[in-house]
Amino acid sequence: MTRASRREMVGGSVDFDEVSVEDVSRHFGRRRAVSRVTFRAARGMIVGLLGPNGAGKSTLLAMLATVLRPSSGAIRYGSLDATAGPALRSRIGVLGHDLFLYPELTARENLAFFAGLYGIADSDACARAALERAQLDTRRDDPVASFSRGMRQRVALERALIHDPRLALLDEPFTGLDDASTEALLGRLKALRHGGAIVILATHDLDLAEGLLDTALFLRDGRNVETLSAPGGLRSTYRTVIGR
């Protein structure tokens, strides 16, 4: 199944060339989770959100996914915003911190279920292809509950990307992956970039991020304390800027 034909099957024909986050803040009561963050991400870019726990990376990703509304500021997807609803959501893929998989279902059932919900006509074939890509084809009929964390992570990644989204939002995608899977994921992300997707990922792993990211945003206490384009020397910058 070619990417183009798969996209045609997806309901809604919206598309966008860039995502712009404009002075976005989000607070929960008195706690500021994200504070006046601004950045732009265009097609064929990988943007990294770096920072310690509690820096606001997950909250920012949730807002980008239209699951959470910003308390102030705006997020635009080209000329669209979150009110575009289902049409916009069909172009966004999310890998959450909690993986979004049903443990009682098999890997194939999980992927076919979500493929169906994303409007893919032949969801079963799509699921099989995705599992082959993740090299989990042999385990496709095993319940996800029996998988290791790393294997679950791989299935979850496939779930996030199964509908060929324009915007891929990944929260800690490298967690629990062994060397081979990490290499595969890096390759996947580069392929996504090559294919014109917008990738925004949050990660702790500075070494992996090195050489992968086009832009790096350093977040601390919800604030964007530094932005690097075409970054090198992430670790040293991290230490200076985050100071931990």
Binding site: A65, H97, P103, G119
Partner: protein, 224 residues
């Protein structure tokens, strides 16, 4: 939209068939409830007149409360409810999908519950099966319609286990009244269709109003 609902229902059924956890525990709990009521209410081997209907509906509400909590607890694992909110289907489809699942589960439980209550409380519940099924189905639908919305609403709230009954029971007072009175009217020896029809119509009106309201409020209430 319909496809999304069907996929969600099928997914819930698949999960349930695999583990059968919800079906068995809900059923067992319902039967225990009936036993507790029997020991409390049956005096000298006979139950008070008309108590059977009350026991049936009390059990449905308690077991339903448990089933609702459990269903959404499952969606809380791995945050799959959030994943469902992310798909391009209209969000009320998620509500309708979960509602269908709950109603099916409760109807299954009631299939066992009704004969059991009829037996233990000497209530002629099965005298007019068509009306009984109608009243029980509409009542269950009304209870589940409000319950599914509230349970979904509370997934990310604190104290969600205790808050569900606190919110649900006052709002479903008309359901329990109409359900019990309708069932009692069915079990009565001098059966009056008009009475049963009245309570049935009330339940249908309740269902229509509250399902519509739930469809309107699902998205605003679920997105932060």
């Amino acid at each position: 939209m319909l496809r999304a609902i069907w996929l969600i229902v099928r997914k819930d059924l698949t999960v349930e068939v695999r583990s059968r956890e919800l079906a068995y525990t809900t059923l067992f709990f319902a039967i225990s409830c009936v036993l507790v009521f029997a020991f409390s209410l049956v005096q000298e081997g006979r139950a008070a007149e008309g108590v059977g209907a009350g026991v049936l509906w009390m059990t449905i509400m308690f077991a339903g409360n448990l089933a609702l909590g459990r269903t959404f607890e499952r969606e809380r694992q791995s945050e799959t409810l959030r994943a469902l909110m992310l798909v391009p289907a209209p969000r009320p489809a998620v509500y309708l999908g979960k509602l269908t699942g709950i109603v099916l589960l409760l109807l299954l439980t009631e299939g066992v519950l009704v004969p059991l209550v009829a037996l233990l409380f000497q209530a002629e519940l099965l005298a007019h099966p068509f009306w009984l099924v109608s009243v029980v189905a509409m009542g269950t639908l009304g209870f589940a319609a409000v319950g599914t919305l509230f349970a979904a609403m509370l997934v990310r709230a604190r104290s969600r286990d205790v808050l569900l009954p606190v919110l649900l029971y006052p709002i479903t007072v008309p359901v329990i009244i109409a359900g019990v009175r309708g069932t009692m009217a069915i079990a009565q020896p001098d059966f009056e269709v008009a009475v049963v029809r009245f309570w049935f119509s009330l339940l249908v009106a309740f269902d229509v109003v509250f399902i519509t309201l739930a469809l309107w409020t699902f998205e605003p209430v679920m997105t932060d």
